[in-house]
């Protein structure tokens, strides 16, 4: 089986602009001398605004990506390894709108960071008829999302504020006037998987049988605090 060499990409840069978003990106590939290895890197910046007048509904995003492909060719086996590392994150500061933040009280801040590492490892055995290929895929992705908001709330009538988190009778607090609420939504979703699969061929009585076998393991959990809010006077 012949694996085609993946050539390194030439330097490319891209600029895209319209009334709602601006994008700048650049990428380049490098071939490593003496080894059958290519490294491609690229990065980009996106500034997106749903409505240019709205200072709250927009975001600035940075993304970086590194991809490597490495081939080993030996007499009895060949190995292909392709790890990737990706990062995407937002770089917004606190968002305020002076016309609707009730005397510089309302604030909004959202951050998003995602890191992902994937691997593909493929092995072939040209001298072993039974095994066509063995492939291992792994992926780990961690995300860090945080949304923080401070808001002035002016209720039209008094409201009840619960003081307990379990069912039952509890004392309650009454709020008669406006108050400032802090809100936090903290998310840390984590995903990972490992997949191993094999491609086999069995020749029986002049009948070629292709067998695909494998297994997969997944793990997903959110390590964040979720919604957390508290009242402050």
């Amino acid at each position: 089986m012949i694996e085609l060499l993946i050539p390194s990409n030439p330097l490319t840069a891209r600029f895209k602009a319209d009334g709602y978003s601006k994008l700048v990106s650049a990428g380049k590939g490098f071939a490593v001398k003496g080894k059958d290895m290519v490294v491609n890197v690229d990065g980009g910046f996106l500034f997106s605004k749903k409505d240019p007048r709205n200072n709250l509904e927009n975001y600035k995003r940075v993304n970086l990506s590194t991809r490597l492909t490495w081939n080993w060719e030996r007499e009895n086996w060949s190995l292909y390894w392709a790890p990737n590392l990706d990062y995407t994150g937002t770089i917004d500061d606190v968002k305020k709108d002076t016309d609707i933040n009730y005397g510089a009280i309302d604030e909004y801040r959202s951050t998003y960071n995602m890191l992902r590492q994937t691997n593909t490892l493929r092995m072939t055995f040209p001298k072993i008829d039974f095994i066509k290929s063995l492939e291992l895929n792994t992926s780990i992705q961690a995300q860090f999302d945080k949304l923080e908001q401070t808001k002035l709330v002016a209720p039209q009538r008094f409201i009840l504020v619960p003081t307990g988190t379990e069912a039952g009778e509890h004392d309650a607090s009454l709020l008669f006037s406006e108050y400032i609420a802090d809100y936090l939504c903290d998310g840390k979703p984590f995903n990972s998987f490992v997949k191993l699969k094999g491609n086999f061929r069995l020749n029986l009585l002049n009948v070629k049988n292709d067998i695909l076998a494998g297994g997969e393991w997944n793990y997903t959990k959110n390590f964040g605090r979720g919604q957390a809010f508290r009242l402050c006077s």
Binding site: T12, A13, F15, A17, G19, D51, P52, R53, N54, I100
Partner: protein, 502 residues
């Protein structure tokens, strides 16, 4: 909104012809001989072999302007922006083509009594309020043209598209999107005595959506729909803040010009532009309309037969008349306003006569210099019918420009300087009865006081370039313009850019 996608891959020029020094190309392409008879270039067929050499200019730059007080209140008292500008002209054996791309992103400062974009095009039917503020803008511009010669005929076509977005992130919040598409087609017939008779037709489609929002819940000011001088359409004053404009232009011109750019040339052109202002909140009510009739004529004598000396003289006339028409409506039924009348209420007349000349010489040491004096008579009159209001002024403007190009070693210097003096011959303002309080009158008077008085403007634009191995020239350029107006009001504009010619 159109989008700009630009992949930048730099490649070297690959001509099979002998390589001409890039500095010689720049000098030849910037000769005054080329666009002294500027009106003939309205016709794309006349751009065939406009320049002898292929050239591309790529530059990025930044501009800054500050005025002590706004010269025109509705345009603001300054701006700051950054831009990317690419232009190319490619003359080949039987055809030429050209194109350009421009992107600009900036902010106009302190724009007041005007929340509409393209003030110079849509006056006086603007929308505004008493607050105003800084206005961010983005401009996308694309152009392209083609001209081909077959036998005695040359034909050409050209189109350009400009998309503009302006907005503000604090109250009052306009969001304006305007699109201008120009197309022109032209042809030229070669006559027996080395002259071309050329004619062209052009059209324009213009649109602007002009929407104002207020995010603050505590209240908002009145929104005004101006109708000229210090008047507004009082009936629709209030909270009608969604408008749009649509317009179109038809034009034609005929010109007579020498093939070798030496001799007499003449051009006569006529353009008719009209636009309508529509208030969307009132069920697409057509509030007003304006129409321009613009006649231009030019007579030029050029002598560029001598290899090192060129000279020319030109007489240029422009007569522009804008008429504004207001529609009158009856009582609404189910938000339907019945139009009952149309009245011509506004007129703006501009007469512009100018006499200019130029002298361009290449010295034996390689220095290339030019002089261009111009004398212009400008007569402007603006009037409103009822209540009767008038503004008029007459100016005599004298301008002297000089230019210099010189190559030394691997360097290249190109610079220009000018001085312009405007002398007011006559001026008058009459805004009629001031019995009722009119908030806009002080601003109209302010604009008039500056425009109708003497002023002096000077400017310089040096550019220094360095020639690279592959016949590229990278350069650093700057411009500085300064104006001194009545009451010691100063206006200063600075531009810096870096770029490359190849």
């Amino acid at each position: 909104m159109s989008s700009l996608l630009l992949n930048v891959i730099v490649s070297a020029q690959n001509d099979s012809l002998p390589i001409i020094d890039i500095r010689k190309k720049i000098t030849e392409n910037s000769s005054l001989v080329i666009d002294f008879a500027g009106r003939t270039l309205f016709n794309p067929a006349n751009k065939y072999k406009l320049y002898d050499y292929r050239m591309t200019d790529v530059k990025i730059g930044a501009e800054y302007e500050h005025q002590d007080e706004a010269l025109v209140v509705q345009k603001g008292d300054g701006y700051v922006d950054a831009y990317l500008d690419i232009n190319t002209y490619i003359p080949l054996k039987d055809y030429s083509f050209w194109g350009g791309v421009k992107y600009k992103n900036g902010e106009r400062k302190n724009v007041r009594f005007n929340e509409t974009s393209d003030y110079s095009l849509l006056y006086p039917y603007l929308m505004g309020d008493t607050i105003g503020g800084d206005m961010k803008y983005e401009v996308y511009y694309f152009s392209g043209g083609y001209a081909q010669k077959r036998g005695l005929w040359t034909w050409g076509a050209e189109a350009d598209l400009r998309a503009l977005q302006e907005y503000r992130g604090v109250d009052p919040r306009p969001k304006n999107t305007s699109t201008t598409l120009n197309i022109s087609l032209g042809a030229a017939l070669q006559l027996p005595f080395d002259y071309n008779l050329a004619f062209s037709l052009r059209g324009r489609k213009y649109k602007q959506t002009n929407e104002l929002s207020f995010y603050n819940e505590l209240g908002k000011p009145n929104v005004y729909h101006y109708t000229g001088l210090d008047t507004d359409y009082a009936r629709f004053r209030g909270s009608n803040d969604q408008t749009h404009y649509k317009g179109h232009l038809f034009g034609a011109d005929i010109s007579f010009l020498p093939i070798d750019k030496s001799g007499f040339s003449a051009n006569l052109s006529y353009d008719y532009f009209t636009f309508e202002k529509i208030i969307k909140n009132l069920n697409e009510l057509p509030m007003a309309k304006a129409s321009d009739r613009d006649v231009k004529a030019e007579l030029v004598y050029l002598n560029s037969s001598h290899p090192t000396l060129s000279r020319g003289v030109k007489i240029d006339i422009q007569l522009l008349n804008r008429r504004g028409t207001e529609n009158i409506f009856g009582d609404p039924a189910n938000n339907n306003y019945q139009q009952i009348m149309t009245i011509d209420m506004y007129e703006h007349q501009v007469t512009n006569l100018s006499l200019s000349g130029f002298l361009e010489k290449k010295e034996s040491n390689g220095i290339f210099w030019s002089l261009m004096p111009t004398l212009t008579y400008l007569d402007m009159e603006e009037s409103y019918v009822n209540p009767k209001k008038t503004i008029l002024y007459k100016h005599l403007v004298g301008t002297l420009s000089a230019g210099l190009n010189h190559s030394f070693g691997k360097f290249y210097l190109k610079t220009g300087i000018y001085i312009k003096y405007t002398h007011a011959l006559d001026s008058k303002i009459d805004l009629g009865s001031q019995d009722f309080k009119n908030f806009l009158a002080p601003e109209i008077v302010h604009n008039y006081m500056i425009a109708s008085k003497d002023n002096t403007q000077i400017g310089i634009n040096p550019q220094i370039g360095y020639k690279l191995k592959n016949n590229y020239l990278i350069y650093l350029g700057a411009e500085w313009h300064y104006g001194r107006y009545t009451d010691n009001i100063n206006a200063c504009c600075s531009i810096v850019n870096i770029g490359a010619y190849f």
